[in-house]
């Protein structure tokens, strides 16, 4: 077990070395930083809530993309968590250049999809959508022709992750803590060897 873990970690580190955060342009890391900083996410907004940045088509595309990144499984996915609304809100407050870069990336996905499959992203078949995402998410893809898409995917993934794990349904179903969990106490470690001289017998100093 342990060796498997170590190997996987090592592989991941090597992979990240090839295409880590440092390789990303400023707009990606800025948007990521914005979303990640306090790592808290988007309010649940009712279905009919107005979009601030996205056109309806862009919105549908972001919903599809985010759900591909974090799909519904035995727990909710990004769509149910309304990650698209979170991203729309982040983009509204982002610098113009960052917003344009993100929207440009979104457009690039449609164009690339058109080239490959003869259909915009949301109209492509599920296996085609997955194929395109596989191209832009590949850490070994250093093709300059795909650079816009690769950078876009990194920004989209960060926003999706942040939005999802701080959403009400994401927190409740995936983290088992919707943010309303309080305690009588802090439970402490239960290991028998860690019940030693210090905290268990201490009644409050002298």
């Amino acid at each position: 077990m342990d060796t498997t873990m170590h190997r996987r970690d090592a592989l991941r580190r090597m992979a990240m070395g090839g295409l880590g955060a440092a390789a990303m342009p400023a707009w990606v890391s800025k948007l990521r930083g914005v979303a990640h900083a306090h790592a808290e996410a988007r309010a649940q907004v009712s279905e009919g809530s107005e979009l601030k940045v996205f056109t309806p088509h862009q919105n549908e595309t972001v919903i599809a993309l985010s759900e591909l990144i974090i799909p519904q499984t035995d727990t909710a996915g990004a769509k149910a968590a309304q990650v698209n609304v979170f991203i729309d809100t982040v983009l509204e407050d982002a610098d113009g250049a960052e917003r344009e870069a993100f929207l440009g990336g979104l457009g690039w996905m449609d164009e690339r999809s058109q080239e490959l499959f003869g259909a915009k992203f949301i109209e492509a078949a599920p296996n085609q959508q997955t194929a395109l995402l596989t191209i832009v998410s590949s850490e070994s893809n250093h093709s300059l022709f795909d650079r816009v898409g690769v950078e876009f995917f990194q920004a989209l993934k960060e926003l999706t992750v942040t939005g999802y794990y701080t959403s009400e349904i994401g927190m409740r179903e995936e983290l088992d803590n919707d943010g309303s969990v309080y305690f009588d106490d802090d439970p402490g470690c239960r290991h028998p060897e860690h019940q030693g001289e210090a905290t268990s017998q201490n009644g409050g100093g002298r």
């Binding site: 991941r12 306090h38 943010g179």
Partner: protein
């Protein structure tokens, strides 16, 4: 404010020390007025500790809108200032200060009743004679004019009221206190504690924190919701509006004036304080309050700013400044050295930290029993070991259900330590009035010029290297060291600029925090620190104030002030 009334004491500032001074003096029978520059907070509107991420209009991401960020370019550098709390920090555009371009100082402030006791990190550690008498041990700077023996009863008194949870360890450089039961360590923290005791003889203990682990003095124990820095509706950590100010009000001898931005202290023909001037924060009207004794608790730099701005013909360099030391020897705690890593051996072990609002503390070990070759004084570490729930997700490649599952399956136990080091007192680290600029109320602002030196730089390097060694001894992997010295101010432990001492030629205050030059002027906050030590300072501010209040009351009764 009527001009007829003369209070026994005027306290400027309502934070950790202002609230404490108000309590002690009113309980001793004095009529006290507290002047607070900011507004009174409403816990139901201003406290956000029970807001969930998705309750926030901008998702709790750092500071919210860009418009807010433009108003708080300094404050947003504080790790506690975010979308939940930015209204508890000042608007930098209204509260300017200047620094030389190459000597930045980060000045974090909260102006409201309670001051930074609302947002503070609550860590509470006693100083020892390793700190009070540090100059005698290594020859740098000045000893404090007090000893641990003199301070201990006042630590007892303050801790007894405030309520500090902690673990007695019997380590002389970090004296044990009058503790409530300690919070619990996580598995990873136990591993660190055991490993560094065994390998290095160093002591790691649970944070000593002003959070109640049992009901105390009418305040309920902590309910472990987590984010204390956003306020606490139950008053389960020490803040002056939840504990000391109500105690003062209980006496019937407290007058609290909020929105009172103090500009200066007025002196009479004998050179003694007679009144305090303030600007009403909202109406901008100028007011004057009269009192027999003035006690500045406005925070380290604000108290000094008030004294500098109280200059007159008799005191052209500011109040109580015959030594010309006022403004000098500014210090903070140097940070930026540390390490973090993962504990693979704990894979799958449930994290029992819950919402514990407290970390761990590695007690200072440098320059205690032996001399370090690179630097004098020492540092302590704060940190934690806990399972990361999803912060590691961007390290996992790909997308889809495999990705989602991997995020859940590979939750790492993360362990980290960050040092807080002593900063040496130096004349050239100082503040003065900036004669060119005023704040939103027309009051001259400070020019602050400070930088860390070689001793701090070497200390931070050792913090980084030693943290990595200790994590390695704990079995951590993927260890990353951090060795990037912080800018002064960022630890928000700023102290000095009106230092205490026995010699009126080289210090501003005597050992009772009373101005050498003016018997009815006291400064009972961090400004009096002669050296910074490396412990979080608030509990010591309060113990010093408590001791000074005993003296003040006695002198007042004997009519010697």
């Amino acid at each position: 404010m009527t001009q007829q009334q003369t209070y026994d004491a005027i306290v400027v500032g309502s934070g950790a020390t202002g609230g404490w001074v108000a309590k002690e003096l009113t309980e001793a029978g004095l009529e006290v007025v507290v002047l607070e520059a900011g507004r009174t907070l409403d816990s139901r509107k201003d406290f956000t500790e029970h807001k969930r991420p998705f309750d926030m209009p901008f998702h709790g991401r750092r500071l919210g809108t860009q418009a807010t960020q433009e108003r708080q370019p300094i404050q947003k550098q504080c790790y506690q200032c975010d979308e939940y709390t930015n209204h508890l920090f000042i608007d930098d555009t209204e509260h300017p200060y200047t620094t030389p371009a190459d000597r930045p100082f980060i000045w974090i402030r909260g102006r409201h009743v309670g001051g930074k006791s609302i947002m503070w990190a609550r860590q509470s550690y006693r100083l020892s004679d390793y700190d009070f008498k540090a100059a005698s041990r290594d020859g740098f700077g000045e000893d404090w004019p007090v000893s641990y023996e003199e301070m201990a009863p006042y630590y007892d008194r303050v801790e007894g009221f405030v309520g500090i949870s902690g673990q007695a360890e019997g380590v002389p450089q970090l004296p044990d206190g009058n503790f409530l039961p300690p919070m619990n360590l996580t598995c990873g923290e136990w591993m660190l504690r055991d490993a560094i005791k065994k390998k290095f003889g160093r002591t790691m203990t649970i944070g000593r924190t002003a959070v109640l682990t049992q009901d105390h003095k009418g305040r309920p124990k902590c309910h472990y919701c987590g984010p204390c820095s956003r306020g606490c509706a139950t008053g389960s950590y020490y803040s002056s509006p939840a504990s000391s100010l109500p105690a003062a009000a209980q006496t019937g001898r407290l007058t609290l004036i909020d929105n009172a931005v103090v500009s200066h202290v007025e002196v009479d023909d004998d050179g003694k304080c007679k009144s305090v001037y303030y600007v009403d924060r909202i109406s901008r009207h100028h007011r004057e309050v009269f009192g027999k004794i003035v006690i500045l608790c406005a925070s380290t730099l604000e108290s000094t700013r008030i004294m500098l701005n109280s200059r007159t013909e008799k005191y052209p360099n500011g109040l109580a400044n015959s030594s010309e030391a006022l403004g000098h020897y500014l210090m903070d705690h140097v940070t930026g050295g540390g390490a973090s890593g993962t504990l693979p051996v704990l894979k799958g072990v449930p994290d029992t930290r819950g919402n514990r609002p407290n970390g761990i503390y590695v007690i200072r070990y440098r320059n205690i029993d032996s001399k370090h070759s690179d630097f004098i004084r020492g540092y302590g570490y704060q940190g934690s070991a806990q399972e990361v729930k999803w912060g590691h997700a961007m390290n996992i490649p790909g997308f889809g259900s495999d990705f989602k599952e991997a995020v859940k399956e590979t939750r790492p136990w993360r362990i980290s330590l960050g040092g807080f080091g002593e900063c040496l007192p130096r004349w050239e680290n100082f503040c003065e009035l900036d004669k060119q600029r005023v704040d939103a109320w027309g009051i001259p602002v400070l020019h602050i010029s400070a930088a860390y030196g070689d001793n701090e730089r070497k200390m931070v390097a050792d913090m980084a290297e030693s943290a990595a060694e200790m994590l390695d001894a704990t079995g951590a992997e993927d260890i990353e060291t951090r060795n990037e010295m912080s800018a002064p101010g960022l630890a928000i432990h700023e102290v000095g600029t009106a230092r205490m001492g026995n010699d009126p030629k080289t210090s501003v205050l005597n050992k009772w925090q009373q101005a050498h030059d003016i018997s009815n002027l006291f400064v009972m906050d961090g400004a009096g620190y002669p050296s910074s030590a490396c412990q979080n300072p608030t509990i010591t501010f309060m113990a010093l104030a408590s001791r000074a209040c005993d003296y003040l009351v006695e002198e007042h009764r004997a009519d010697r002030i």
